[in-house]
């Protein structure tokens, strides 16, 4: 047989090339990488403790300066240090809840797409309705219901805990993922290799786990990135309206910090509004870019002549 020319790339190499050609995504990877490193090494990178007072009242609001790079808040805590601890919690919320929702969604979507019929119809109707409902309303109502069911307490933890938020977004985000995976499975189902597997008598479970899910890795990865963004923004939205995790024991999250911005606007403490919001936007933007590049990279159909 003729030897392969060096110019011919494997699909994986091509996907990697396409990803790397998305410059914004590469920059985003660097940003998220640095941020993650900063956050993991929090005790080293933060200058003060989460709850440590840098400046005693009455003049507790310091503008950004050498002593406190990004200024201090109403009780004199260093905003830079608090941001590091806050991002740590937010990234954890984003990642953990995204993993839950993607696992759930991928399974439901794969089964719905593969089995079709009544199950599929009902699943998709429910998903449609749920997604068509205003996001914040559903989130608040579901949050209250989860919190009011005492037998869920061992799983969800206290309503104001970080764990509760993770479970909430985990349960919340699966529908979008299910829809994406279902679509992918529907188109894969008709492909020859699945037909072949079916023809040799492979079980349904084998086909789903060995053929359908591995071939949906691209869309699932994309869904994962968007779930992470969704959970991080969702958490800060909840916190902004006072329904987020409570800052007990000085624990903080990006949402709590952004929530404090509401009061800071009118009084002119701009740094308390600008820096947390900026960090949130940068994180959301970076992950969105990565997701977009992943989608372009893993979908060979979209050769957009770039």
């Amino acid at each position: 047989m003729s030897k392969q020319s060096p110019n011919v790339l494997s699909p994986r190499q091509m996907a990697f090339r396409r990803f790397v050609s998305h410059k914004a995504a590469v920059a985003s990877c660097v940003i998220i990488g640095v941020l993650t490193l900063f956050v993991i090494l929090a005790p080293l990178t933060a200058r003060y403790g989460v709850n440590e007072s840098v400046q005693a009242p009455p003049n507790s609001f310091l503008t950004p300066r050498a002593k406190s790079w990004l200024g201090t808040d109403d009780i004199g805590r260093d905003l830079y240090s608090r941001l590091i601890y806050g991002v740590r919690v937010s990234l954890l919320i984003g990642l953990a809840s995204a993993i839950i929702s993607v696992t759930l969604g991928a399974l439901v979507g794969a089964i719905a797409g593969f089995r079709g019929g009544k199950f599929d119809d009902i699943m998709m109707r429910v998903t449609d309705l749920f997604l068509a409902f205003p996001f914040l309303v559903t989130l608040l109502v579901v949050r209250n219901v989860l919190g009011a069911l005492p037998w869920l307490r061992p799983i969800t933890g206290d309503m104001s805990s970080v764990r509760f938020i993770i479970v909430l977004f985990g349960l919340f985000g699966w529908m979008g993922v299910a829809r994406i995976v279902r679509g992918q499975v529907l188109s894969l189902k008709e492909r020859e290799f699945v037909e072949a597997a079916r023809a040799v008598g492979a079980s349904r479970r084998y086909i789903i786990t060995r053929h359908l899910l591995p071939n949906s890795v691209g869309p699932i990865m994309v869904a994962l990135t968007f779930s992470v963004v969704g959970a991080i923004i969702g958490e800060s939205t909840l916190a902004f309206f006072g329904y987020g995790p409570q800052a007990g024991d000085g624990a903080t999250s990006l949402g709590i910090l952004v929530g404090a911005a509401k009061g800071a606007v009118q009084t002119g403490y701009w740094w308390l509004a600008v820096f947390p919001c900026l960090v949130l936007i940068i994180i959301a933007l970076s992950i969105n870019f990565i997701g977009d590049a992943l989608r372009d990279a893993t979908d060979p159909r979209l050769d957009r002549g770039v």
Binding site: P134, V141, V145, C277
Partner: protein, 324 residues
């Protein structure tokens, strides 16, 4: 077509019943209406509480309670709010009118500019213009509405006033305090910032929908057939390209009402704009069951309505879909 619509409308009634029952359940479990009533009215007599439970259908048996609530709701015997015993319908009606105004202004502005941006981006994929529009759209969807709202308030009101002595746009309400009657100019001025906040989200979302939909169409074989006919590029784009590219976008638009209302809730709250969003957050915070249930019915009904619009417009635009 007509029979299809009729059948869909007929079907939406049981759906409405099921969904409102679920909402009833969720609110009963999630907000505990009786406890909220007692909290707001600590000195209410036993008889008052019993009456409250009765008119709202808050029986211990959820199914019985739901049907009692439903009967009162359908016959127009709406209970009053738990705080201040206000009538619900006038409040809900005003909120609906205000939100409809803000929502349609933002949607029209947003979809118009979003579609134009999407088309401009798709015509030269990978070009400078495309990169600019695409990046802006990404920035747009990455900024949560509450952040852009705060930033606009900070810029156009707080700092504008500090720099120029007067704020450029007001940041709360529909009219200044004490104003009566209708004043279009004043109203538009008050609506400007909240409209902008919601419209930015819509522009960002729809430019991306339009771009990817049009790109799919531009790469399709029938576009090549159209070009091979020797007709003008403009005609190829509008008659063959846009017509096909709009099909998925219109469908998504009608299904997207939920997310637009979601954005409105957040925006209204920050701008103290007395619409459906502010109404919801206030009554939800107080656990005001008599105010919440009719609000939910309106939302569920409009979601179902726009779902129907989506299906019908899809069928109308795409001859491949057969309705019967």
């Amino acid at each position: 077509m007509f029979r299809y619509i009729l059948r869909r409308v007929a079907w939406s009634i049981p759906t409405l019943l099921i969904v409102t029952f679920l909402v009833y359940l969720a609110l009963r479990i999630g907000t505990d209406p009786v406890a909220s009533y007692k909290r707001v009215n600590p000195r209410a007599s036993r008889a008052k509480i019993a009456e409250y439970i009765d008119v709202n259908g808050l029986d211990p048996n959820f199914v019985q309670g739901y049907f009692k609530w439903l009967k009162n709701f359908v016959t127009g015997e709406w209970p009053r709010s738990i705080k201040g015993r206000r009538e619900v319908w006038p409040a809900l009606k005003d909120a609906m009118a205000n939100t409809l105004r803000l929502g349609s202004a933002a949607t029209i502005v947003g979809i118009f500019f979003g579609l134009i941006a999407g088309v401009l981006a798709a015509l030269r994929p990978g070009g400078k213009r495309d990169v600019f529009i695409n990046t802006s759209a990404f920035v747009g969807i990455s900024i949560p509405p509450f952040i852009s709202a705060i930033m606009f308030q900070l810029l156009f009101a707080v700092y504008w006033q500090r720099w120029f002595g007067e704020s450029l746009f007001p940041t709360s309400g529909v009219y200044p305090a004490g104003h009566t009657g209708f004043d279009l100019f004043l109203m538009l001025k008050f609506m400007a910032l909240p409209t902008l906040v919601v419209a930015i989200q819509i522009v960002a979302t729809y430019s991306r929908y339009m771009r990817s939909s049009l790109l799919d169409v531009l790469n399709s074989d029938y576009m090549r057939t159209a070009r091979s006919k020797g007709i003008s590029e403009r005609r190829v784009l509008i008659k063959h390209g846009m017509r096909n590219a709009l099909i998925p976008v219109v469908t998504i638009a009608a299904l997207d009402v939920g997310s637009i209302v979601g954005g409105l809730i957040i925006t209204e709250n920050i701008f103290s704009y007395p619409g459906m969003g502010l109404y919801f957050l206030k009554s939800f915070g107080e656990g005001d069951f008599p105010l919440l249930m009719p609000w939910m019915v309106v939302i569920v009904a409009s979601v179902l309505f726009f779902n129907l619009i989506a299906d019908v417009s899809y069928a109308w635009l795409d001859p491949r879909i057969r309705l019967e």
